[in-house]
């Protein structure tokens, strides 16, 4: 192992990566940026788990944007197979090429097998597209837990060797190893083999300060008091016993809604807050459990201090 020169010190590279992510609108904490950097250094895929809406997919998008690389996205679902994930022959074009050749006037045009089974008749699906990129690229395999075990097993080969074998052509090897990010919501246990191939990071809900920074970065024009109050409220809401905890995306939606309604701070009257709460609470039970009284309590979690101070001041004045 050669020691890297001062210009390419990992620490500075990692800081650079974090700054670039920030420019692309993703505020990563130090641990996450270290992990992302390490994944590219070790050329290992990165498995990110976490609740819905904590920014797993957004990380991949921001990473691609920060490196100016194309993002190739494979959305997994039940029954996903090779033809939809890796490659498929363009049968229609192959047939057409054969027919055209047969009807060519100078009867010499006997079509060769190799002609119709060449790369131009191959439909590239996300995995093959990521591998055959000429430059750097980010491959996002989204919600891997939704695909079935068979597909997961196939993925092992791709992620370990970064190659795909097409029987008619041969093995297609990646010239540039793509940076792979897998996300999972944990609806199914992934196999140990896949887990061990990957670096792992668990994304949690952001801290108050970080979430405020995220919202401010996304909505620079919103009043900062509105942002702070709203984020504080959401953080408090997350501690409630909800069946679907609002993520960052929901916070952004909600603050955007309040901003569009031209509020400069959280409105006093709860009815108008209740109207916008659909951005945060996505199930009937959660919506039902948040009455306007409960809402007021949650909002006033912040205001009780102020009230106490006020009453103190009043007491002082009275004295």
């Amino acid at each position: 192992m050669k020691t890297p020169g001062p210009a390419e010190l990992p620490a500075s590279q990692e800081r650079l990566l974090r700054e670039r992510l920030q420019v692309s609108g993703y505020l990563a904490d130090e641990d996450l940026s270290t992990t992302v950097w390490l994944a590219s250094a070790l050329q290992r895929p990165l498995l990110i788990e976490g609740d819905a809406g904590v920014g797993k997919t957004a990380l991949a998008t921001a990473l691609a944007q920060s490196q100016n690389a194309p993002l190739v996205r494979l959305q997994c679902f039940e029954g996903l197979d090779l033809a939809q994930a890796a490659y498929e022959w363009n049968y229609g074009r192959q047939l057409m090429a054969i027919r055209l050749n047969e009807s060519a006037p100078n009867g010499t045009g006997r079509v060769q097998e190799a002609d119709v089974f060449s790369r131009e008749y191959l439909l590239e699906r996300p995995l093959l597209r990521a591998i055959s990129q000429a430059g750097p690229c980010v491959l996002l395999i989204d919600e891997i837990d939704r695909a079935d075990e068979a597909f997961e097993a196939f993925l092992l080969e791709v992620l370990a060797e970064y190659q795909i074998t097409v029987p008619e052509i041969g093995t297609i090897r990646a010239s540039h190893i793509p940076q792979v990010i897998l996300t999972s919501n944990g609806t199914r246990e992934l196999s140990d083999a896949l887990r061990r191939r990957c670096l792992y990071h668990y994304l949690d809900y952001p801290s108050l300060a970080r979430e405020i920074a995220i919202v401010k970065a996304a909505l620079p024009h919103a009043n900062s008091r509105l942002v702070e109050d709203a984020v504080q409220f959401v953080q408090r809401l997350r501690r409630e016993d909800l069946s679907k905890i609002p993520g960052i995306a929901e916070t952004l939606d909600w603050v955007r809604a309040l901003f569009q309604m031209q509020h400069s701070h959280l409105p006093e009257d709860m009815a108008s807050v209740l109207g916008t709460l659909g951005c945060l609470l996505k199930t009937r039970e959660d919506r039902f459990s948040m009455s306007s009284d409960r809402l007021r309590q949650l909002v006033e979690g912040r205001r009780t201090v102020g009230v106490a101070e006020n009453s103190n001041e009043q007491a002082k004045v009275a004295v």
Partner: protein, 394 residues
């Protein structure tokens, strides 16, 4: 990384890393040679003095699941910064802070509680040092569950034969799995693609035929899709059932995990506790206790069942759904109301099984009146009863 400490130990960094890996393996993390190589490589990348990035990098390399992710900070501190931990810790493969007897007993109870949640085998306290404490406790297994420390089941009476050992819990889980497998699945009108199906999937077959220029070379098949039945468990946690509530909730939890059952508890009111059953925090029993605490004014079975049908189950209560009621049937509502409530459930096509903690079918008036609506009565006073009943539950 605390290199100075390493040098003091006069051992090679890789040896130190290997013993750290051994500690991680002791706690259930999968750290093989590959992982150790990657960890060393990370050290070489960042330089041995950069503790923060190395810690983050190692965490990404060594952890593979959420459970391990949560375990990491503790293990890391324990090995590399033992001086920060309270209590004496010796840095070897088996590190643990020393405890006195009271703490050990309490830890064992906590361990038993967490062992009741299969997802989270917290392996941490299972070091050799805990063993004498276990032996001690076996000597006086008849005593209340906690001695000296706070008991999480304090509100309940002393129960004989209610000590739940980890093997009981795994037996219960196995039983729940067997019973779940025997619950008859309901065929739906939908079809799904299957390699060895009974019917030709024409659309898929035609799509595949394109590869052979329209020749139907590779047929695709499909089979009827079956849906596992929905299971609802309603456990009576009123004062009269106090001594059975623990068993009922354990059974309910086993089925919540295995069969994805929705679990409700009721006394004078009904509350859904399914989320508590799935979440694996040690505080679960306390939370359920909190839900069930503060009552004693009798049981309103009929009203609770009605609330269940009309508000909670609604559309999910369809043909083939199973409703299991764990109760002794003593109702403070009028007896006829129970008949009406059960009739309402039956009208949706759901099948009702009544589990009673007594040997005989309870003689409560309300139950006798509505026997016709209940498909089966099953005694359940212990795990053995449930095991005996596994052939009739389908």
């Amino acid at each position: 990384m605390n290199t100075s400490a390493k040098e003091q130990q006069a051992s090679l960094p890789s040896e130190r890393l290997a013993s750290f890996a051994a500690l991680l393996r002791d706690h259930g993390l999968v750290v093989g040679v590959t992982e150790q190589q990657s960890m060393l490589q990370a050290v070489l990348y960042f330089g041995a003095l950069q503790e923060k990035p190395i810690q983050a990098a190692w965490r990404a390399i060594a952890c593979h699941t959420h459970r391990e992710w949560k375990l990491w900070p503790d293990l890391y501190e324990r090995f590399w910064h033992p001086e920060k931990l309270k209590g004496g810790v010796k840095v070897s493969g088996q590190t643990r802070p020393s405890r006195n007897l009271r703490q050990s007993v309490q830890a064992m109870h906590e361990q038993m509680d967490t062992a009741s949640q299969p997802g989270s085998q917290s392996s941490a306290p299972q070091t050799a040092g805990d063993m004498p404490a276990v032996g001690l406790d076996e000597n006086d297994s008849g005593s209340p569950r906690a001695q000296g420390g706070a008991s999480r089941t304090e509100a309940l009476h002393q129960r004989d034969g209610q000590m739940w050992m980890p093997q009981d819990l795994s037996a219960l889980q196995n039983l729940a799995r067997q019973i779940t497998a025997k619950l008859q699945a309901r065929p739906t009108r939908r079809w799904r693609v299957a390699p060895r199906g009974s019917r030709l999937d024409l659309r898929q077959t035609l799509r595949r035929s394109v590869a052979w220029g329209g020749e139907l070379m590779q047929p695709a098949w499909k089979v009827k899709r079956v849906e596992p039945p929905k299971l609802f468990i309603l456990a009576d946690v009123s004062r009269s059932m106090e001594s059975h509530a623990a068993l009922f909730l354990r059974v309910a939890r086993a089925f919540a995990l295995e069969a994805d059952a929705r679990v409700f508890v009721f006394h004078t009111r009904l509350a859904e506790v399914t989320p508590y059953m799935h979440r694996d925090t040690p505080a679960i029993q306390e939370k359920v206790n909190a839900v069930t605490a503060g009552f004693g004014g009798g049981t309103r079975i009929a009203a609770s069942l009605q609330e269940f049908t009309r508000q909670h189950a609604r559309a999910q209560l369809n043909r083939g759904a199973r409703v299991w009621v764990f109760s002794d049937g003593f109702d403070t509502d009028a007896p006829e109301l129970l008949t009406i409530a059960l009739q309402e459930i039956r009208a949706r096509g759901a099948r009702i099984t009544w589990f009673h903690p007594t040997k005989q079918v309870p003689s409560a008036n309300a139950l006798q009146l509505s026997r016709g609506h209940i498909e089966r009565f099953v005694p359940m006073a212990s795990l053995a009863d449930l095991a005996a009943a596994r052939h009739v539950l389908h």
